[in-house]
């Protein structure tokens, strides 16, 4: 069975990893040749069984994909599509309840925008009184980062927010996924939903180097950030355009805090109203090169980019933007090198994935409104909190935001859940994605255990399990 194979592969990789680790720590002579295992055969391989091919056909100027049966790569109970903050939290939470979990991610690492997007600041975590209101799995991730050298900085220093190291975070997530014993497929794009005649989701179709394959599941959690799966299944959603940037990391930056420097020189004390009144209108000064802010790794800064407003689902627009962003980053670097402390700066890395903020917002059983957010309405089916941000105090997130209005057997998590745009603008932030992810994961596991649909989930039980997993519900 496909599942077994992948499990075995996983176990193998754990074992090899362990061996390499052991090797690096033990004196060389203690490693016996007999302990080494033979490698798979290198070079030409015997031909596999013949496979029927059904390429797309150009007929009458139209490209048509012939109808064909898809290979079922895998069967699972809970399928999580997308391995960002929401997806990893969902998969890990569900796996804690001992159901079969499969996590699929289109890139070769976990963490989504929080690692591959190089979006390294974790906020909003705290309420108005600087109490941490987002805990649970996200807190566990941060605790694992705590013990790593250069893993995370500014922890527990509310209202200052922690900043993580992207590579450390990728490592922590890989470790947690491996430990949990779930199945994970990387480099695997979810391209379609599988639905049955009752308009209930039964899995998803993926594209990878292995071709187009299906994964069947009892419940699907769409944590793709863009709602790719629910959109494919036909769920109603709101289309959003938002700023799209490209974040990068600069190396060899010794200006730890340019701001401090600046404050000393430029602006007088707070009471001195004579000084430093900036010019009116769109200012053109002070746009020298920027070096961003420190990360846990010494000498490495991360540089955020807001970017212009665009359609994060339009491949042509995304491609053009990404090229322009790269050009701009290089120009910025050249200007930044004129700054004292940044003369030897270089671009350590541009984010492997574009900084797409919001694209689709689900039409859910409940659409969280701006008014509810600002007035801090309490919900019976609350699954957690978002921290306070700007002048909006901390607010509760109801379970209904994760459940599609019509579609069955699917839950949304992360930045594509059901909320008004201005609310989603907060829900999309990393810690809040942990909250919706963890809740979606537990709810999905409950659907499997109780043989029910997401909208029928026993909410008190869901809340109880959330609490057991360390989440904060007020």
């Amino acid at each position: 069975m496909a599942k077994r194979i992948s499990r075995r592969e996983l176990m193998q990789s754990v074992a090899t990893g362990g061996l390499v680790l052991a090797g690096s720590m033990t004196p060389l002579e203690s490693l016996m040749a007999s302990q080494l295992r033979p490698m798979a055969k290198r070079g030409p391989q015997p031909p596999g069984p013949a496979v029927a091919r059904y390429p797309a056909v150009l007929a009458d100027g139209k490209v048509v994909q012939p109808q064909r049966e898809l290979e079922v790569l895998h069967k699972t109970e809970v399928l999580v599509v997308g391995g960002g903050p929401a997806g990893t939290a969902a998969a890990l939470a569900a796996r804690c309840l001992d159901v079969d979990v499969t996590l699929v991610e289109r890139y070769g690492y976990l963490g989504g925008l929080a690692t591959g997007g190089l979006v390294l600041a974790i906020f909003p975590l705290y309420d108005r009184d600087n109490r941490q209101v987002i805990r649970g799995i996200g807190e566990e991730m941060m605790q694992r980062l705590d013990v790593l050298k250069y893993g995370i900085i500014e922890r527990n220093r509310a209202p200052v927010y922690p900043t993580v190291d992207a590579e450390a975070f990728k490592y922590v997530l890989a470790e947690m996924v491996l430990e949990s014993g779930m199945d994970a497929y990387l480099d695997c794009w979810g391209v379609d939903a599988i639905i049955d005649s009752n308009y209930a989701v039964k899995g998803a179709v993926f594209e990878s180097k292995s071709g187009r394959q299906a994964i069947l599941a009892d419940v699907v959690v769409d944590a793709s950030g863009d709602g790719d799966i629910y959109a494919a299944a036909g769920a109603a959603f709101e289309k959003i355009k938002d700023n799209i940037g490209l974040v990068s990391r600069l190396g060899n930056v010794s200006v730890q805090d340019v701001l401090d420097e600046h404050l000393k020189n430029a602006t007088g004390p707070r009471d001195d109203m004579d000084s430093g009144m900036p010019a009116r209108g769109m200012p053109v000064t002070a746009f020298e090169g920027h070096v961003g802010s420190p990360t846990p790794a010494p000498g490495i800064n991360w540089l955020n980019m807001k970017g212009p407003v665009g359609d994060g689902l339009d491949v042509a627009e995304l491609s053009r933007m990404e090229l322009l962003h790269r050009r701009a980053l290089w120009k910025n670097l050249e200007k930044a090198r004129r700054k004292p402390g940044a003369e030897q700066a270089f671009i350590a890395e541009t984010a492997p994935q574009m900084g797409v903020r919001l694209t689709r917002l689900l039409d859910g059983a409940k659409k969280l409104t701006e008014k509810e957010m600002k007035t801090g309405v309490k919900f019976k089916d609350a699954i957690g909190y978002s921290g306070a941000y700007a002048n909006a105090p901390e607010f509760q997130i109801p379970y209904g935001c994760l459940v599609p209005a019509k579609l069955d057997n699917l839950l949304a998590a992360g930045r594509c859940v059901s909320a008004e745009f201005l609310v989603a603008d907060t829900l999309r932030l990393i810690p809040v994605c942990w909250v919706t992810g963890q809740a979606a994961g537990i709810a999905a596991a409950l659907c499997v255990k109780d043989q029910c649909k997401p909208r029928q989930v026993n909410v008190p039980r869901l809340q109880d399990l959330l609490l057991k997993q360390g989440a904060f519900l007020g």
């Binding site: 979006v119 701001l259 430029a266 707070r270 109203m273 900036p278 746009f287 955020n304």
Partner: protein, 406 residues
């Protein structure tokens, strides 16, 4: 201490004292209760009326009490004034026998003349010397956010109490403009030499001692000086207007503001955001202790107009909620060299989110390849939400500046 023996007076005085405290308590009986407690002073009521910025129930009360003072000499001092009661008490425990000032002339009358004349010029010069304002101001200590402003808010009353301890009735008999106002009203051609005797005499009989204000010439000089100084102070205020700190919503023009403000602290206590702080002299000595606005952690709430409801002198105009939101406290301006968003420090848009009037938007400049918050000055009223929440640290990237100071 003879007056303590007049039975009806003590209970009335105590009742008025308690009433004053109730009116001024930080949780007021009704929103504008504290206004009444200051406007009841005939000195404040008359000068404010002359300056022409305020009118209302409190002023009418002040005028009624003024009218009583015409027929009943120093009636306000004897029955109502809470400060008078306090000072009486303190002078009893003090060294009051040493009335070294016995032969000194009264200056209260000059204060009244100067101030009333200044009022006509639009600048009631010494209105802040009203004892009820001192009394009111002392309550501000409960809401003071730092030691200095706490100290300053109680400084006036403390000073009066020190006078009472060291020099007995000096304040009431010689300096207090509220007392002197009553003397004018009661038509005393001569001003009292011994306050004690005045208080003793229950009638409005003629005064017995020293003549402090007998010549119309001196009075005339005082009035002329008041008008002149008033105009001068206004000009001075106008010249300094661009250096003046932010004032609470409803504040009248800067040139008259420092003069009309009685420093009672009512607005500071009324503000739920605690953004109104006493001026510690940023705009020169003239503005000392007048209310200024500072956005440290909080801003001027879009659903509040409390401070505009409690000003006894009209230095802060009475505004309804809509008017208050239209009143321009200042204008927000961005210093891009500090802004987290511009500098790529992190994905900040806190100013945009926090603005209650949608006045801040993020612009993307294709050439500079930078995103930058831009304030729409037509929508911005300077409420300071952006400044209060901007996360750049001690110096905010976006700050509210006095309008017209560019």
């Amino acid at each position: 201490m003879m007056h303590w023996r007049h039975p009806p007076r003590l209970p009335v005085r105590l009742a008025c004292f308690v009433l004053a405290i109730l009116l001024l308590w930080p949780v007021p009986l009704w929103i504008s209760a504290s206004t009444i407690a200051v406007q009841a002073s005939p000195f404040v009521a008359i000068c404010t009326l002359l300056a022409g910025w305020a009118f209302g129930a409190g002023i009418i009360l002040g005028l009624v009490l003024s009218a009583i003072a015409i027929v009943r000499k120093r009636w306000f001092c004897r029955y109502i004034c809470p400060v008078g009661l306090l000072l009486d008490g303190f002078s009893r425990i003090g060294l009051r026998k040493n009335a070294w000032w016995g032969k000194c002339p009264s200056i209260g009358g000059y204060i009244v003349l100067l101030t009333a004349a200044g009022s006509i010029a639009g600048y009631p010069l010494l209105l802040w010397m009203d004892p009820l304002a001192f009394f009111s101001s002392a309550f501000t200590i409960r809401t003071a956010t730092d030691i200095l402003s706490g100290f300053l808010s109680t400084a006036g009353l403390t000073f009066l109490l020190l006078i009472a301890i060291t020099s007995g009735d000096l304040w009431c008999a010689r300096i207090c403009p509220l007392g002197a106002t009553q003397d004018f009203l009661s038509g005393a051609r001569s001003l009292p030499g011994s306050f004690k005797d005045i208080l003793k005499s229950k009638s409005h009989g003629k005064a017995r001692y020293g003549i402090a204000f007998s010549t119309t010439r001196r009075a005339f000089l005082a009035v002329a000086a008041g008008v002149g100084l008033g105009f001068l102070a206004k000009r001075n205020g106008r010249a300094r207007a661009d250096r003046a700190p932010l004032r609470p919503p409803g504040a009248i023009e800067e040139d008259e503001f420092a003069g009309l403000c009685v420093r009672c602290g009512n607005c500071m206590r009324a503000c739920p955001s605690k953004i109104i702080r006493p001026d510690t002299g940023q705009a020169g000595i003239a503005g000392l202790l007048a209310p200024t606005v500072r956005y440290e952690g909080e801003y001027c709430l879009e659903d509040c107009n409390a401070c505009t409801q409690v000003c006894p002198s009209g230095a802060l105009q009475n505004l309804n909620l809509r008017q208050k939101n239209e009143y321009v406290i200042g204008e927000a301006q961005l210093d891009p060299s500090l802004c987290f968003l511009v500098r790529g420090v992190r994905d900040c848009d806190i100013c945009v989110r926090s603005c209650p009037f949608d006045a801040v938007q993020i612009y993307w400049d294709e050439d500079l390849y930078v995103a930058c918050p831009v304030v729409d000055q037509l929508k911005c009223n300077g409420c300071g939400a952006c400044e209060a929440y901007c996360p750049t640290g001690d110096v905010k990237a976006i700050r509210v500046w006095k309008s017209g100071t560019v």
